[in-house]
Amino acid sequence: MIRKRELTLWERMYVPEIIRGVALTSRHFVRNLTFHALHLVGLAKHVSAAVTYQYPEQPRPLAPRLRTRHRLTKREDGWPRCVGCMMCETVCPARCITIVAGEHPDPNVEKYPVRFDIDLGVCIYCGYCVEVCPEDAIRMDTQILDIAAYSRAEMKLDMHELLNPTLRKPVAACLLPFPHKCGLKDPAAVGPEQPMHGPIFIGGDVTKAAGMEDQAQRARQQPMPANGVRPLGV
């Protein structure tokens, strides 16, 4: 229950409280205006005069744990780390993942996805696929938020975009080094793949920057714990 506080006589006189409020907002005004003016002449750039971000030019820093657009992690040879166990497809509450598994040539690896599609128009960004993956093969750390598209078809990601987050539809050419169900043309005829728009993540390869490959490598080399459960996200 909200108990109403009795106003003191000073507060009920109204004018002093108004002056206090105006003084508060004026303080912000003078401070911010001073720094805006200083910024104009190139001074005090490290002090911000506003708490807002000028979005398209100045993206807001994102938390590392934020769930953003998906990506598939790779092995050293460029094949996907995914083993086609269908865990993510099964757990997905929105049923936006479609996997078709194929036989991997290496007998030590069970399978690999011949097809791996995510329909972002259906995805609810719950992150269950990342949680459930036993191979650390799918991640949601690309920091790509602007996934808007003009058609439903453009919202459907396949392995080309998932393995290389810098790609946007339309993907110019297929450069995946393993056999898969590919809707794209022969790479030799089209030329090298060109990113349509870069992701917000600046500074080259997302995979390398996130230290992703190394982490997965380490997780793999660690001996299996006694209880048989490998800690997630290591």
Binding site: I18, A50, Q54
Partner: protein, 360 residues
């Protein structure tokens, strides 16, 4: 005769140029000042050839948009009154500026020009009358729109403006008693006196209570937050709900013109108008001795600059108040007007009368 007419026309042109530009700039001031007060940047996306001019192009974009929008007159509405209302509103706000002295006399070629569009002996009464007439635009807008919400908004506006006009008028009576004149130019001249040789006898010094009453009542007259019950465009639909395009723009401009007007009136009544402290027609007289002579033209220009600065300061203050205070509830508004401001202003008149009797 013709010369006088031309001079008056030129003066009116100067005043209107200043007032209308300042009112137009108020859309920019409103956006930018509120943004700076709230730690934001404010509208800055409109650009010509990639140059943004600190968002100064947004008012231009607004005007372009308003002029190209459909001019809608609701079916069943009174077409003539619906069209007339915004013009009445803006007209009565603009004509008030005729009585406001913007500076001391200017001597050009032996001819002494009073820097006031119309030297009206009863300037103060004229101002109050024109301010009251401003209600017509608002009431007609609500009445002619054939819309119950607009009608109620018009009624709210009428009762609010009438209530606060009383407090405003009575608060000014103290000033009239003290300076003994209704002529604004004479009133400003009278504010050039000094108490004990150093304290300028501005309206705020002799009538501090009247200042606060006048400020509150005048803010209510501008129909802006915290007194924006007539409009309340975001929640309670106001009297101009059935207006679109530039007719709506006129109502919007009227608000800003009235803000400038109230700033002018406050500066004129309570802050010495064009008076600069210690500046006399022959130069600066420092209270502790010493005279720095100045040319008459420089003195006049200093007066003009002083008046402009005071008006700009009050525009800033009103904008700050508008972006600081929440809206009153309607019963609080009425109770403030009738139960507090009205008795206070009447008491102020009584006290002023007693003081004058004792001092004389």
């Amino acid at each position: 005769m013709l010369e006088t007419l031309l001079i008056k026309l030129a003066l009116a042109g100067v005043v209107f140029f200043g007032v209308l530009n300042l009112a137009g700039l108020h859309t920019w001031i409103e956006r930018k000042q509120s943004a700076v007060m709230q730690d934001r940047i404010g509208a800055n996306r409109a650009s010509i050839f990639g140059i943004r001019f600190f968002g100064l192009l947004h008012p231009l974009a607004d005007v372009l948009k308003l002029f190209t929008k459909e001019d809608f007159i609701p079916p069943g509405g009174n077409k003539v009154l619906h069209t007339l209302a915004p013009f009445l509103s803006a007209f009565f706000a603009l004509v008030v500026f005729a009585a406001i002295p913007i500076g001391d006399t200017l001597t050009v070629g032996g001819r002494v020009i009073d820097l006031q569009v119309a030297s009206i002996d009863i300037g103060l009464l004229y101002i109050l009358a024109m301010l009251s007439m401003g209600v017509y635009g608002v009431v007609l807008a609500g009445y002619a729109s054939n819309n119950n919400y607009a009608f109620l908004g018009g009624m709210r506006a009428a009762s609010q403006m009438l209530s606060y006009e009383i407090a405003m008028g009575i608060s000014l009576i103290g000033l009239i008693m003290w300076y003994g004149t209704l002529d604004l130019q004479a009133m400003v001249r009278a504010q050039g006196q000094y108490l004990w040789g150093w304290l300028p006898l501005w309206g705020i010094v002799v009538q501090p209570v009247a200042f606060f009453v006048f400020l509150a009542a005048a803010l209510a007259e501008t129909k802006r937050i915290p007194f924006d019950m007539p409009e309340g465009e975001s929640e309670i639909v106001g009297y101009f709900v059935e207006y679109s395009g530039m007719k709506f723009g006129l109502f919007f401009m009227t608000d800003f013109i009235e803000t400038v007007l109230v700033a002018c009136l406050t500066a004129t009544f309570f802050f010495g108008g064009w008076q600069v402290p210690y500046l006399f027609p022959d130069g600066v007289h420092v209270p502790w001795g010493g005279v720095f002579p100045l040319a008459p033209l420089a003195v006049t220009l200093a007066g003009l600059a002083s008046f402009t600065l005071k008006v700009l300061f009050f525009c800033w203050l009103f904008m700050t108040v508008r972006w600081t205070l929440p809206r009153f509830r309607y019963d609080q508004l009425m109770s403030l007007g009738w139960k507090y401001l009205f008795p206070i202003s009447v008491g102020n008149v009584v006290v002023t009368g007693l003081a004058l009797r004792l001092l004389s």
